[in-house]
């Protein structure tokens, strides 16, 4: 499917929730190269938003603009109610940013990094120590606290990075590829951390090139490709945009399988697994008609599972992945 025919689902139904981040027609180019070609986003407060896209799609540029690190060439953006161009300091006071490359001071210890943040957030000495100790504890960095941050592993650096971001209790947190380069365990730790952040009520703006990560964490996902939003919505909504959904019936008794296979002629057979696949978009109505049909033909599967296309399918459909660069997906 080509990206130009993909609809961009409209946000909301006349009840706009207060936006933590909203952008209209955000643009940025470097010389002749257009990096962002009109980005519209609306991210409700307290949600997790994932900006998903291949390398070079412009994800980091979006984060840099919204976090006031660089300026946009055109369009408008509001972050935490502040216009990024008119009131960058208002934005800065409300956000925390953890970039793709660790933003820790490697020459000083983890604890000193935390106290540095506390000082820059103008906490009192006592308060600063308390917050630093608490966050070091929470991110399992107590043992390493007195060692220079340059000696930390990738996962530890990333944890320290996020701990530093949290010192000022930001309402909106930007995480630019927070798990890139982490081993699976650290990656799952990071997911855990991100989930905890949301329960605290903060808004998380996450960029990732990993589909499972967006699927796992985000309330809403936007797929960025070639500087444009190719599609956005919940993971489920996005999955419905591409074909490939089916209902799978699995049998334990070969005889039952054979008789079912003869009845359900349009099903795809998997003789080895004793399973049949019926195409379905996963909607309630289709599911009910399948169930009714199975009842009427007295077929009783031992296991019924509904499969929607996963985000891989969506991603490649939307980003025009004709060459299916599977190796970029873990």
């Amino acid at each position: 499917m080509h990206s130009s025919v993909m609809p961009t689902p409209r946000q909301g139904d006349g009840h706009p929730s207060p936006a933590a981040v909203s952008t209209i027609d955000l643009r940025k180019s470097y010389g002749d190269k257009t990096v962002l070609d009109g980005i519209d986003l609306h991210i409700p407060a307290g949600s997790v938003f994932a900006l998903l896209g291949p390398n070079g799609a412009g994800k980091t540029t979006v984060v840099k603009i919204l976090s006031t690190l660089i300026t946009a060439d055109g369009g408008q953006a509001q972050v935490a109610g502040h216009d990024i161009a008119a009131s960058p300091d208002g934005v800065r006071a409300a956000i925390g940013v953890t970039g793709q490359f660790s933003a820790v001071d490697g020459l000083i210890t983890g604890e000193e990094n935390m106290l540095l943040m506390a000082d820059l957030h103008h906490l009192s000495k006592r308060e600063g120590r308390r917050v630093a100790a608490e966050l070091l504890e929470r991110f399992d960095l107590v043992e390493a606290a007195k060692k220079p941050a340059s000696t930390y592993s990738g996962g530890m650096k990333r944890r320290l990075d996020i701990a530093m971001t949290l010192v000022g209790s930001p309402r909106i947190i930007f995480l630019d590829e927070p798990t890139t380069g982490l081993d699976p365990r650290s990656r799952h730790n990071m997911w855990q951390i991100i989930r905890q952040l949301v329960t605290g009520g903060v808004t998380v703006f996450l960029t990732t090139q990993y589909l499972d990560e967006a699927d796992e964490l985000a309330d809403r996902i936007a797929v960025l490709n070639n500087g444009k939003i190719a599609a956005q919505g919940t993971a489920e909504e996005l999955k419905r945009l591409v074909p490939g959904g089916h209902v799978r019936l699995r049998f334990t008794d070969p005889a039952a399988y054979q008789s079912a296979a003869l009845t359900l002629r349009e099903a795809t057979r998997d003789d080895e697994a004793l399973a049949l696949q019926l195409p379905s978009d996963g909607s309630q109505r289709e599911l009910r008609s399948i169930l009714d049909w199975l009842d009427s033909t007295h077929i009783e599967a031992d296991e019924l599972t509904v499969h929607t296309p996963d985000l891989d399918d969506v991603f490649f459909a939307l980003t025009g992945g004709t060459d299916k660069p599977k190796e970029t997906v873990r």
């Binding site: 956000i95 933003a103 000083i108 000082d119 820059l120 530093m164």
Partner: protein, 261 residues
């Protein structure tokens, strides 16, 4: 918090950070200190008797007196090369991006570097000065006021050279480039009146030695510490320092405000 209070508070936080770096990794500063100290010993003990002919005789002890002001200034030059390197290193670190996205006084990162560097320069000057005194340097004519003025001029020169070095560090893509770009701060004192008087140099070279910032500052220091004639060098020295400070300040600020890639 008023913007001035914010500036002071954030700058002092950044200063603490820079001093912490210097304390944790003193090798850079100490290595740079070796140059003026080695030059001092070399010129006094190895070349001293011969070189003193250039200043009209008087042997080794007269030559110590002659070169110490220049070497003290060279010490400042060497120290700020370290500043250029550490600024350049710092700018490649992700933490600078973090600072830029925080609601802090924007200039505090640079101000922290500058104050830290001036303090290091002063400490280095005191150290090299102590070595000079240990090998026989005596300021024969200086009153307490002269000492104070000399100290003030050194601090002003340190401020000027630091801002220039910060600018050099800002525009250098990495530490090696920063160290190369800062080379004039080492070379200029060599071709000033630090080691021999300007009038003892070849005629065509004299303008180069004369019309550069180090010479009037060195001549003024010499006048303050040893009672030689200062003439208009005092005003020239102050003008050079203020001009370089302003230049370095605006250069660094522009470079820092330039959009990061």
């Amino acid at each position: 918090m008023s913007s001035l209070a914010l500036a002071v508070r954030d700058s002092s936080t950044m200063l603490r950070r820079n001093l912490l770096h210097a304390r944790r990794y003193p090798s850079l500063t100490l290595n740079l200190l070796l140059t003026p100290i080695i030059l001092l010993l070399l010129f006094v003990y190895i070349f001293g008797n011969t070189m003193s002919a250039g200043i009209g005789g008087g042997g080794r002890s007269a030559y110590i007196a002659y070169i110490v002001p220049g070497l003290l200034l060279m010490t400042v030059g060497s120290t700020v090369v370290g500043t250029a390197v550490s600024v350049s290193n710092d700018m490649t670190e992700g933490i600078i991006a973090r600072f830029r996205t925080m609601a802090i006084h924007r200039g505090s990162v640079l101000i922290g570097h500058v104050i830290g560097s001036v303090l290091q320069s002063i400490a280095s000057v005191i150290l090299v000065g102590a070595v000079a005194v240990a090998i026989g340097f005596r300021s024969t004519h200086a009153t307490a006021l002269d000492w104070l003025a000399a100290f003030g001029l050194m601090a002003l020169a340190a401020l000027a050279l630091t801002w220039i070095a910060v600018g050099m560090g800002m525009v250098s893509p990495n530490a090696e480039a920063a160290s190369n770009n800062a080379l004039p701060l080492i070379v200029l004192p060599l071709i000033s009146s630090a080691f021999v008087p300007v009038h003892a140099m070849p005629g065509w070279f004299q303008p180069i030695a004369q019309y550069q910032p180090f010479t009037p500052v060195i001549e003024t220091l010499r006048g303050l510490l040893l009672g030689t004639d200062i003439g208009n060098n005092g005003w020239l020295a102050i003008a050079w320092c203020l001009a370089l400070t302003a230049l370095g300040y605006y250069w660094s600020k522009a470079a820092f405000n330039r959009e990061p890639k």
